[in-house]
């Protein structure tokens, strides 16, 4: 950095970079709108109104942000331990399926027992789907990016199989329509409504999970181990940290949070059924991928991921409003979403660079002090690359032993 900035200025600038990246992506989107013959100003104002312009819009945004926050929080855990979890889509599906099966097969129980039970079932499903790539990486040195993508494919087929076969609504068979969906799930498992007729406890749970993750990562020995492994596997191993178990655990925890997101999607849905259109994104709305973006927007810090998820949820809800208002195919939203991912990820290195003064060795040395969490967050993905001075790399388990 040739420009002299104080640490504080540097930090503010760094935090604004991902937001600027989103704007850059939207600018690109405006060009696409013009090419499609739509008015981008009308489009984007409809987008803003659709996301934040009314009570209903805010509730829709909150609900859309909820799975992003669960997933994003899990992504933060994985990243801090030096693993990339591209498998949240599949983990959400498994969480949804486990929770659905719990609701279908458990006996009728009061809501106060039923709701926690189905959510825990979701956590278990997601955790299982995170543990598999975690263990494969830790013990068999299988690249987690590939294994999680493959597990996403397995998950979507499993969902289609179960919802077309064993779990299908008997009424669908009687009618002969055979829509791949379950019957209306037990009412006692519906997520309690906080306000109005749609806003359930999901957003609150997600915020609590993010706060708990903050405590886990910066206030517990386990969190210290996770971060130590992420900063340098070799140093962690010398310090006596069980590196392999910690890597497996990081993906398991990450999957568990995604699984919870899946369960919340099912029991917070308006139909109170699990339905599939034959794709993961049909169920998750792409939250498994967008959660990664939310985590990056939040500087890979669980608490900053809260407002980041809210903003990104608004972007998605608003995107749908935009698409309806200017009459362009909904595929535009998927394409725009891709652009946002690219721009945010491409900008992330600059954010990390701005803050790198505070990180690497220093951050590691003082990582158990009280106030370092934000500086430390800044290391972000940069840390994943830069922290291994001996040229090893945590994405590349082949090198690690």
């Amino acid at each position: 950095m040739s420009i002299n900035l104080s640490n504080k200025q540097r930090r503010y600038l760094a935090y604004s970079i991902p937001v600027l990246a989103v704007f850059a992506a939207l600018l690109f989107g405006a060009i696409m709108l013009v090419l499609l013959g739509a008015n981008p100003f009308k489009g984007y104002s409809e987008m803003f109104i659709g996301a934040f312009g009314s009570g209903d819009a805010l509730i829709a945004t909150l609900l859309k942000a909820t799975p992003l926050l669960f997933v994003g929080t899990g992504i933060v855990i994985a990243f801090r331990a030096g693993v990339i979890n591209i498998g949240a889509e599949g983990q959400m599906v498994l969480g949804g399926l486990f929770a659905t099966m719990a609701a279908l097969y458990l006996p009728e129980m009061p809501a106060i027992i039923m709701v926690p039970l189905v959510l825990i079932a979701g956590v278990i499903g997601g955790a299982l789907w995170g543990w598999i790539p975690g263990a494969l990486k830790a013990y068999y040195r299988v690249n987690e990016i590939l294994s999680t993508i493959m597990l996403n494919i397995v998950a979507v087929q499993l969902m289609a199989y179960l919802l077309r076969g064993p779990l299908i609504d008997p009424a669908e068979i009687e009618r002969g329509t055979r829509i791949p969906q379950t019957a209306r799930l037990a009412e006692s498992a519906d997520l309690p409504i906080l306000f109005g007729d749609r806003l359930h406890i999901g957003p609150v749970l997600a915020v609590l999970c993010a706060i708990a993750t903050y405590y886990l990562l910066w206030r517990t020995p386990l969190g210290y181990r996770l971060r130590a492994v992420g900063l340098s596997e070799h140093a962690a191993r010398y310090a006596g940290i069980p590196v392999r178990r910690t890597i497996a655990l990081a993906l398991t925890l990450s999957g568990a949070l995604a699984g919870l997101a899946g369960a919340v999607l099912v029991f917070g849905s308006e139909s109170h059924r699990m339905v599939t259109d034959g794709s993961t994104m049909g169920f998750t709305g792409g939250a498994g991928f967008n959660g990664i973006v939310a985590a990056l927007l939040g500087g890979l810090h669980p608490l900053w991921t809260i407002p980041a998820s809210f903003l990104f949820g608004g972007l998605i809800v608003g995107g749908q409003a935009l698409q309806r208002a200017v009459q362009v195919p909904s595929a535009l939203i998927v394409a725009l979403n891709g652009l946002v991912v690219i721009f945010v990820v491409a900008a992330d290195r600059y954010r990390a660079k701005l803050l790198s003064v505070d990180t690497s060795e220093e951050a590691f040395a003082k990582s158990d002090s009280e106030d370092d969490s934000e500086d430390h967050a800044a290391a972000g993905m940069g840390a994943v690359h830069d922290a291994a001075p001996d040229g090893t790399h945590s994405f590349d388990p082949e090198d690690s032993s």
């Binding site: 499609l36 990339i84 990016i145 195919p329 394409a335 290195r349």
Partner: protein, 310 residues
């Protein structure tokens, strides 16, 4: 079960395995160059989709399949440049930026299709070229020598890729940059230049792979590739970063897919279980990854952006 093993069925399965292997093979070969130079491009599926749409649209408008293939390659090339800018110049985290490229391709190809075409109209497909004499050999001819020109060319690309990778200066630079970028840099090899080149090769081949897919099927639809690009990336690991291994992997996948299709048509796999059968490629990939990870090592600079003096 007897009807599965009739000669006619087996011949059909092998012939269709070869056809299904080709898009995977092309995309995988391109990705191999990228990975050998230290860049993981996870966006292959998105590039394939845009290549597929472009190829389809060009054939629809001109009626010329070769022009369609050319257009698909050009779009792939442009996206290869974009991938290089993102991964090499901007040094984005490759595991995630690739997902962005994938989503962009997925949405954009569908958007263009809806805007420019709307309802699927079938297009011309590649003409079959029987290899003289060989095509007349009983059984063998039908399995291997009654395909279209693209299929022969794709298989011919394998020895070419092996040669380029192992015997040319460019190939050595690719491998050097993927294993020891600092050393390569010291010796005057442009790390970024080589990586740009491999991304362009990879993008072009992915675009061609998509074009081949769409023009072979004679149709385009939303998410036409159905994740083939991701399988192609996994095949690079499967084949341990070597063109021959990749060809074997692509053929195995082609065979599994063809067999599953055939078993479904013959109703040996009941409709209810077709989803379970569709898991086979992904599960085989995971098992293969375990096996490969024990024996082979990825290029040591894979996914690591290069900064001089670090």
């Amino acid at each position: 079960m007897s009807e599965v093993f009739t000669t006619a069925v087996m011949i059909a399965v092998v012939a269709s395995a070869i056809r299904l292997a080709v898009p995977l093979l092309l995309a995988s070969l391109g990705e191999t160059f990228g990975q050998r130079s230290g860049v993981l491009n996870l966006g292959v599926d998105g590039i394939m989709l845009l290549g597929a749409f472009t190829g389809y649209y060009a054939v629809l408008k001109t009626g010329n399949v070769w022009l369609g293939l050319f257009a698909a390659g050009i779009v792939g090339l442009a996206l290869g440049v974009a991938s290089a800018v993102i991964a090499v110049t901007l040094k984005a985290e490759q595991g995630i930026s690739g997902i962005g490229i994938y989503l962009f391709g997925l949405g954009m190809s569908d958007l263009l299709f809806q805007k420019l075409v709307g309802t699927p109209i079938p297009i011309d497909t590649f003409p079959t070229v029987n290899v003289p004499l060989l095509a007349d050999i009983p059984y063998i001819g039908e399995m291997f020598f009654q395909h279209n020109l693209v299929i022969y060319l794709a298989f011919a690309a394998i020895p070419v890729a092996t040669f380029v990778m192992n015997k040319t200066t460019f190939g050595m630079n690719v491998r050097a940059v993927g294993e020891y970028p600092d050393a390569a840099d010291t010796l005057g090899v442009s790390v970024s230049g080589v990586r740009y080149a491999t991304q362009i090769i990879g993008g072009t081949l992915a675009g061609l792979a998509g074009g081949v897919l769409a023009i072979s099927l004679g149709i385009f639809q939303q998410n036409l590739t159905n994740g083939a690009g991701f399988i192609a990336i996994a095949l690079v690991y499967f084949g341990a970063w070597r063109p021959i291994g990749i060809m074997l992997g692509a053929l195995l996948f082609g065979f599994v897919n063809a067999l599953v299709l055939e078993l479904k048509t013959l109703e040996i796999i009941p409709r209810d279980l077709s989803n379970i059968a569709a898991m086979a490629p992904a599960i085989i990939t995971i098992l293969a990854l375990v096996f490969v990870a024990r024996r082979f090592r990825a290029p040591s600079a894979l996914t690591k952006p290069f900064t001089r003096g670090k």
